[in-house]
Point group: C2
Chain length 579, copies 2
Amino acid sequence: MSTKKYKGFEPKWIKTVAPEGSYRSIFRWGDPEFFKWPKESLYNLMKDTFKMTDDDFKQYNDDIGFDKVENLGRSCKLAKEHIDALKEIVGEEYVTTDDYARLSVAYGNTAYDLLRLRHKRIDHLPDVVVYPDTTEQVEKIVAYVTKHKIPLYVYGGGSSVTRGVEPMKGGITLDMRKRFNKVIKFNEVDQTITVQAGMSGPKLEETLHNAPQLFGAKRAYTCGHFPQSFEYSSVGGWVVTRGAGQNSTYYGTIADIVLSQRYATPIGVIQTSHYPREATGPSLNQIMMGSEGTFGVLTEVTLKVFRWMPENRKRFSYMFKNWEIAMKAAREMMQCECGYSSVFRLSDPEETSLMLKLYNVDDTPLAPLLDKLGYKDMERCMFLGFTDGEKGYSANVAKNIAKIALKNGAIPMTGYVTKSWEKGRFNDPYLRDTLMDFGICTDTLECTVNWSNMAQVHRDVRKVCHALPNTVVTTHMSHCYPQGANLYFIFITKMSDEEEFKAYHTTILDAIQKSGAAISHHHGIGKMFAPWLEYSLGEKEYGVFRALKNYFDPDYNLNPGGTIGLDLKPEEKRNMLNK
Amino acid sequence: MSTKKYKGFEPKWIKTVAPEGSYRSIFRWGDPEFFKWPKESLYNLMKDTFKMTDDDFKQYNDDIGFDKVENLGRSCKLAKEHIDALKEIVGEEYVTTDDYARLSVAYGNTAYDLLRLRHKRIDHLPDVVVYPDTTEQVEKIVAYVTKHKIPLYVYGGGSSVTRGVEPMKGGITLDMRKRFNKVIKFNEVDQTITVQAGMSGPKLEETLHNAPQLFGAKRAYTCGHFPQSFEYSSVGGWVVTRGAGQNSTYYGTIADIVLSQRYATPIGVIQTSHYPREATGPSLNQIMMGSEGTFGVLTEVTLKVFRWMPENRKRFSYMFKNWEIAMKAAREMMQCECGYSSVFRLSDPEETSLMLKLYNVDDTPLAPLLDKLGYKDMERCMFLGFTDGEKGYSANVAKNIAKIALKNGAIPMTGYVTKSWEKGRFNDPYLRDTLMDFGICTDTLECTVNWSNMAQVHRDVRKVCHALPNTVVTTHMSHCYPQGANLYFIFITKMSDEEEFKAYHTTILDAIQKSGAAISHHHGIGKMFAPWLEYSLGEKEYGVFRALKNYFDPDYNLNPGGTIGLDLKPEEKRNMLNK
């Protein structure tokens, strides 16, 4: 949230809590009482870029959704006997066919979802929403839907940007937020915590910080997993989509952090093993992760936990002369074996330019100084981060990063930039809602590359983005490895039609597939990315997923309707690889 | 090899190169011209333990196998048309039905194999041995055996201790040693190397050390993977069994080191992706690893490589007062987030006692001094290792290890002990052959545990071992993680009958399964451990492997006869979990 007053005209940003039961209360992000609007510099940039005037910000472009969700005209199609059976399992009050409850679990958080909700376009609704309390209840529900061939969906935190939660075939949605979010076991000897899959990020982190008070632990811990969606994402969502947090360069992605999982599947309970490594055939943990609710419903997860030692954290930021040098330096940092930085984030020139505006650096003497030194706007690249771990480890990582940055001609920018970034790290989604009120749409796409194809993917994908009208595309890498990194594209565009957005999204994903990058580093696949999956992996390779699906859920009752491409028709699949 | 002369009687250890074409040339380990025999202290210990006298070492207990392999009386049952077809694929001279060639790929290196070979007991032989040269040839062979339903086995380095290579159904064995061991690509930008699956450990490491000369690289690299079997193991074997090297605590197991894999399967080529992480469904890399030749034949592997910086290595060793304190300290070292030691090896009291004999510490004033200080024989625990990585990283790990060891009352023992261990790290298998000549059998079993069940597993398994007659059982952990470690049991026993050995092995594996540990940390499953696998993982969990098998190789032509339990009969499976 900007605290600075605008010098010029300030749009009527919505700063009112969305009414209870309203559409807006569903489609806006997170904390109802938190608001964020752009700094004046960003506001001006958008006016310039999108050829808008103050007048365009005098009225809302879209329905702002303050009206109540009611009379959706979609009656529950599930027979009363099924509803009764569900009530029998979870308790009368934890089964509902209420319109608001149903709509609130029908969409995730891609712009396609938000625009549809703003337009009151309801493509799919569950017939009934169920709030389970225990693993046993979920297991009974899965057995029940299997027997009666009822579609079953799961809503964790709802932060999916891939239409992962959308109930394409109606049926039942399990809303995990209300009750399925408890700690099952904390084990300080093994440094693990076992939780129900609906556990939210903040509640998990708070629990671990308070381990001494809650569990009599010797110290405080952290989960190490902080996606941008942290505040409204769930552990289960992290796991089934193979998510990654912004500190993954040190802590690993969720695929590294998970120790074991329990699933309720149509063939019964699947409990993966809980050893750090083993040589007992294919890894069942790595088979279940990424299944996105199609093999079974994740009920319990045991996560590795880490020591909470913020006192050892070293913040840093550097400005590199250009993207090529910056990539080379980042690679050296990842390959030199000095340990890994926790946050490790390198912005390309366009993102750097935008960041300097956002962080008000453009208004300071630093901007012209950088220019003078040859670190020019739209060439220079901002690199920032902080280290974690034991004191000596953390210091050694920061020391080596400094050494490599300086050797590559970077200018130290102090920890100020990093702190500015930290302030906004979890609340950019609020800004997105504010901009959408005026017809400006922001969304993201991301992929994984090896170092050797990074420059090419960056160039190819951005070229396609820039050929699209009215687009700002910023790019960074934020999850880095000795063999490569993710590339994360944020696009801001003047757009308010969901189908226009979908076509736009498709064009970029086509470019990512064509470039040879992995089509998702940590957002998962869901239903929105599914058309690209089979050809990206290879048809025979992809066939493995279908074989697994046929083992676990041969009747396709779990998250049906395209999730990870399992029930797509041939004509729905996209293949840009030979084009 | 002991260079010290024996003071007393010295047995007639075999120090003669086994004749070419002999049984011994097959069953003895490794370099034909290298020999190792026990130090006098160990010799005396064995006499004491097994109630043997010098007289028992005057003649060989077993057939020492100097006679030529010939007239095995097992003619090739494969039709001439098939042999011709194979010759068509790989070339006339690379297909053989020669007895020696066939026997040399029929066994691995468990004592069960070696004893059978010493007794000229030949249970299974391939009908024909083929030496492929290219990936394309292997793909053609897999297509051919699929079409004609011919069993196909692969022999990489032959160091399997799980009967992984044994051709239970005859057919074809691909011997990868001769030609399928080439470098395909070295990529310094991504720090990867792609090799054919038959590449041997030493050739790979030598290649990487010589990267500047061979590839014009900027520096030398290391593969980071050094199992005890290093000298005669293959990259393919490491990968398909999910092996781990002795430096895995820093470099990771092979499951961490592999970036991508290519397999020739009955349904065609499977190429896994080459990104450091991705969120595109279940991990195909982690599905193929551990398949042990049952889903396809591994043809090409891309491995991450590491910088070769031995100048940064810090050696250390410490003596802890007892196992309980030592386990606690080791856990703290793994959980304190200071980085990870490369070699990290903690021996239990019985192993420590043996090591002090082997390293001649028992003859020095140190031994009584340790006793006097309260670090008593059969209570004290030896901990040793060395660090790797960038200079500051390596130093920080060593510093923290020292701090934690001292805080837990350990006595520093200098790098001498570590160096002694290093000298023998790859050549203990030679000692094994020497002892077998006199009816003393050594073998190993290992498992994974979490920290919280380590004491119990250690106690339970050792109790069972000690109830067996004439047994020395030493235990260490050598692959450690924040959430647990492996436990590695070495047993030395007076035994020369293979069925007696098998029963003995079964008893210990029963104990491991019953204890709740993972039945293999890095040896894999093969055919020997297969009976325990299904019940250890759970029946529904195990069913996933069968579903995958049915997708890749529905006719069960690849490594058939029990590998990872896929074609075991119900009565062949073992379940000790509820006993």
